[in-house]
């Protein structure tokens, strides 16, 4: 059997020594662990961003991977640290909702970490990733039963990305993610969606100036396109350019789509 996989997702930034410290703590307890960096560049303390990140990345992994998530604005408060099993995925994360966009979140098995014997001997007030989550991850990778980590809990913080609302002649949603290319991803699912006639993002109303495409390459460079993202959400992009820059888009900005005639159903063209 291959050695256990432990992934790391943090907001520490690549230049800080904190991600390295996590790695060292894990390898000290289980030197056979295989560490996989997902990212250390989550925007600082941005729970919503990491929730979207995990919802995109975690489903690609095999179930046996253990995902350690350290984006923890509440460190040092009485917020809990959790072990989570959701639809076969296993995570360790602060109780701030960061994992709750994953499939199976509503019916997850959740345990509150409460057994200091699986922690570092001395636990700082500001770095629970190193002192609690990392050693617990190592112990889990060595095969301890999660039930030993603490009591099961039935309530936890839930992060809800509101589904788009139906409005007269269209749908109203918002920007949920902007990627490295400047592609703007919304909370509007594209499955079965009919190409809209009008797209409004923030204060900009676009009509006749964008194209509905299957991929960026169907449009000439610099042109504005709307498409289904690789995770099935309405995405606004500029072929070989940055839509976020062109549209001055930011996460949370309202997005509406409208059809001047007919209904919202039908084929996505």
């Amino acid at each position: 059997m291959p050695d256990p996989i432990i992934t790391l997702t943090t907001d520490f930034g690549a230049s800080a020594p904190y991600a390295a410290a996590l790695k060292g703590v894990i390898l000290t307890l289980n030197s056979a662990a295989r560490l996989v960096d997902l990212t250390h560049e989550i925007p600082p303390q941005d729970v919503r961003y990491v929730a979207f990140f995990l919802a995109t990345a975690v489903p690609c992994f095999p179930n046996e991977a253990l995902h350690v998530v350290v984006v923890d604005p509440g460190v040092g408060s009485d917020r809990a640290l959790l072990y989570i099993e959701a639809a076969g995925r296993r995570l360790l994360a602060p109780d701030n909702g960061c994992w709750t966009l994953l499939e199976g979140a509503e019916t997850a098995r959740v345990i509150r970490l409460a057994e200091p014997r699986y922690w570092r001997r001395s636990v700082s007030a500001t770095f629970h990733g190193r002192d609690i989550l990392a050693p617990v991850a190592a112990h889990l990778s060595l095969g301890i039963d999660p039930a030993q980590l603490g009591p099961p809990v039935r309530d936890w913080v839930r992060l809800v990305i509101p589904p788009p609302r139906t409005i007269a002649g269209g749908l109203a949603g918002e920007v949920v993610f902007i990627d490295n290319f400047g592609n703007v991803i919304t909370n509007i699912p594209t499955d079965g969606l009919r190409p809209p006639d009008v797209l409004t993002i923030g204060d900009r109303k676009l009509q006749g100036t964008f194209r509905w495409v299957r991929s960026y390459s169907e449009a000439p460079p610099e042109s504005l396109v709307v498409l289904g993202s690789s995770t099935g959400l309405l995405e606004i992009a500029v072929a070989r350019g940055s839509a976020a820059q062109c549209l001055e888009a930011t996460v949370g900005m309202p997005v509406t789509i409208d059809w001047t005639t007919g209904d919202a159903g039908g084929s996505a063209g």
Copy 2:
């Protein structure tokens, strides 16, 4: 035998979930694969940059490594995806020339990926790295014969970094790469090159204000030096500073070197 090595080179950016998705897809199919990040910070869609990157990095690796390259401005178009064997190196990359600065590119064995049975069941129009290249890499690491991936091809996109031209009294080339330290690397080979008397970069003509050195440390801090780069190309640097900033250099900017007397041959001093 050690577990198979798969390297990843992308322009996804460290904060996006796309590199993590690649890793998950590979580990799901072959959980024994050993993933090595080369970089996820290629400037977005910069084929020329990644070509230089690969030409520097790939020759350092053992032949058994498999290099997955996802810098793919043409995703969703009819550009092919390729399996490549060049001088013993093995790569998976879009057909955009990104691998063609490697030794052996002209006589490479190239196969067009055409067998969907080695792909993800559902292939998106915008993320072929996750849906085609990553699963094919995993299957290759499990030992399938590359011939099963698709038909051999004899033509592919070639990226050519033009060799410098001989001009009256010197050579005319260009900037091909600027590194993290602000060192400016040109397309002018230094093997056998005689130290130039005049260096022109963009609009700036330098004469008597730079030193030809073997290494940065031969010159006082802040001084401008010209040397052979670690890959054998003429490099312009500022000792403990940034030549790119001092000279406002950008990739593609013309660079000429001149000798006020004599010929271009001889020792590099």
Copy 3:
């Protein structure tokens, strides 16, 4: 026994091909090596930064890890390259003091790398990380005796972070590190420290506008706090904000703490 762990700490930047080159060289000589990235984002040539980084990260690792450090402003000069054993830790680093904040530095076993048979056949003048440190790391991971690498040395460059000075009614220190969250870390140990009444950083004198806390979460968002860092040093932070930005703090900036009454000893509250 698990395969050998080799960590990498460099200032190459994530987008340059140099870290990838190191990895390739190591894996070519020992394809069983397990590479762990600590960071490639040390600020260019910042020896003091990497010294602080290593002092934080290396103690978390198991002793069997081998730490390769390539922050090397003196590359190409006659500065030595070193193999170091300090309090059970093993490192390869340029002789610039970067490892000398580690525990055991004063009584370390240090060897100067002098045996070219463990180097790359051709050694460039500008990239000793790739040409000397990486192959030596690989040979060490294959089990060669460090004594074969070169002669022992008893003198080396020492980096000293001056301890804070006692001044009338307080202590005078400086900023030694600023992390990704904008937390400002000083050279003032907090063990046994009494909460100060006055804090001066650069030109700003703060009195009654900061709170002494155990963790960020004890204070309302945006408020200025002073606390013991996860490495036991006085840290100035803004809850859910950036102290570095608020205070325009930079590394090296003077920091003093004062008590308006009583002495410097006693409990940290």
